[in-house]
Symmetry: C2
Amino acid sequence: MLKRPSILVLGAGYGGLMTIVNLQKVLGTDAADITLINKNEYHYESTWLHEAAAGTMLPEEVRYDIQEVIDSVKTRFVQATVEEIDVVGKRVLTDNGEYTYDYLVIGLGFEGETFGIEGLDKYALSIANVKAARYIREHIEYQFATWSTEPIKDDSRLTIVVGGAGFTGIEFLGELANRVPELCKEFDVPREKVRVICVEAAPMVLPGFDPELVNYAVGHLEAKGIEFSIGTPVVEATPEGVKIKKADDQFEFIKAGTVVWAAGVRGSSVLEASQIESMRARVKVEKDLRAPGFPDVFIVGDCALMINEETNRPYPPTAQIAMQQGETIAKNINALIKGEDTATFVPDLKGTVCSLGEDDAIGVVFGKKVTGKRASFMKKMIDNRALFMVGGAKLVMKKGKFNVI
Amino acid sequence: MLKRPSILVLGAGYGGLMTIVNLQKVLGTDAADITLINKNEYHYESTWLHEAAAGTMLPEEVRYDIQEVIDSVKTRFVQATVEEIDVVGKRVLTDNGEYTYDYLVIGLGFEGETFGIEGLDKYALSIANVKAARYIREHIEYQFATWSTEPIKDDSRLTIVVGGAGFTGIEFLGELANRVPELCKEFDVPREKVRVICVEAAPMVLPGFDPELVNYAVGHLEAKGIEFSIGTPVVEATPEGVKIKKADDQFEFIKAGTVVWAAGVRGSSVLEASQIESMRARVKVEKDLRAPGFPDVFIVGDCALMINEETNRPYPPTAQIAMQQGETIAKNINALIKGEDTATFVPDLKGTVCSLGEDDAIGVVFGKKVTGKRASFMKKMIDNRALFMVGGAKLVMKKGKFNVI
């Protein structure tokens, strides 16, 4: 009797979970042993973290128990932190034991990238996971509460610097634009005392987006009191704030009680330390999503680097693509088990919507530009669709976004 | 034509507001000019502050706009901080101008009393007002959020020392007992990591309460994980925690991320600096609630000291007594305007209930001991009754406590 192949999935993000859900679907009963390893007992919506960080959503709302969406008969779940991946020895070391595999799926997500800028790793906060997002919310509230009680007011407590005007930075600014008036009311702080400043090194906001949409976004945020400092790289972070470069030999120090760095992501450092070749901790995958040189290893989500041949640029690390990859990987593992050919992954880009807060957004959906409430509605439907694909209607009912206009 | 007398009421606490509400009732139309001066545009329920500090109620829930409950035709409201009271010159200096009066009512509330213990004023938090309570809530949450994200855990962040086992201390502990499990869930902190320790200098808990009720309260709180250190005075507070005296020459240092001092109150320091004689910033009032030697000045609430002749001890500074005093003061001012005799204030003690959290309490109501849900229900009805007396049914509907079993 042949031993059943063992499949090991690392990470329960969008990619890992979609791999599991689809493996459960495509594999015959008892066709394989499936194990899912994840650091936490919960999955979190990494595309919603900026809302938890701003305080417009509760941390509880952005996560759900993994056990709720996997089939515990078909998949064994292990809560453990992955410490080392040995793709030559075909084993994975965790803080909760060692695991071997016949097929490995690596979906360990992203980490913040500080580009070696002095002090950033120490003094800037990063929207990296649920705990970090929750910390940012509490940090900002604490600054407001402290200002409200201190006898000699330090107004710089109420200054929030957001590093980065990319997708995450802009979505976070959108939430802050809604949250700041609430915070002012809650903590008896005059609105004019609060500054929110977006600092971006590149000469533009939201690179890759249609200029008309970008103008809409910037106008919307500026109208809500957000300041922009574009083309001015952060050169240093200190406990008091950030130093930015305004021109050659011209610098400015922005004193700020809160600095959030949202300007770059990279893949997983555990993956980077493995024998697989990577760039900024991401692996340039084969067409069937396998790691070059390791035909039993698949990479999914933010750890996978794929070039869009039309634009000759990498696809952005989105939940949409990660989930589609998970579907393909499940099919390809099934094919390998059966001795069939693997399929090429073809992303099906339905569009991208960047939220600007509660009821506004910009984006391109099925090739058409959308703005305002319509875009915001679509954003919520995209979020709900992702829930549906992982956990069906039940999960949408439980975690879906229905505060639509 | 005779000039209308002017009545100046300082402070919109229970006593001040009840004075205003009753003045509006008893005085004939245009019989006097009434001015109310208060630091904030809102009144807050000082007997609910421990709930805002623990985080079991929102700060918004414990306060309401003064304009909602006063008659703006009859009473002029001025938002200002009282800086000096000159009862000889009959004028009051504020940060928003000078005010004169024919009749003055001083209801400036309480301040924390640290008895000169080293470091307490600097490193311990006090449940003194809405902002301070809100700060305590945020401070505790921030400790939990920080513990949850820091790589090397400092468990003392999760230790909360409550100084004082009197009424406020015990009510605050009751709320913490409910709140701590919620915080653990919200911030992914194991319950056993959290310590809540009540430190009391006196050899007993809740002095003046029936011993059977005190045993009930301590047993209830201990069952929820609250620790008690009784008969052990705090001798020093530092940024790291408190030093307590366990016996002669025997000290212990409790490392704690949060120290809340709930062990003593005194009257108003502005009143203390005036020409009126006071003890711990409270004025031993005449039988008709006037200040000795100043027949046009009344004292109400926590600033008034009254001896209970039955027990030969001062009446406790409660909302119940403050509100009854406000009623008497309004009648007595009306009597003075009309040239009639003032009435003696006779407190009507309906009972005292000490909350032990959401659905438990102990107390004596109309001479009968009550505990548990029944006592908790009565506590909520007492709170609602106070709202009713100030703002009628409308305010009860808006701010009342109806989460009864």
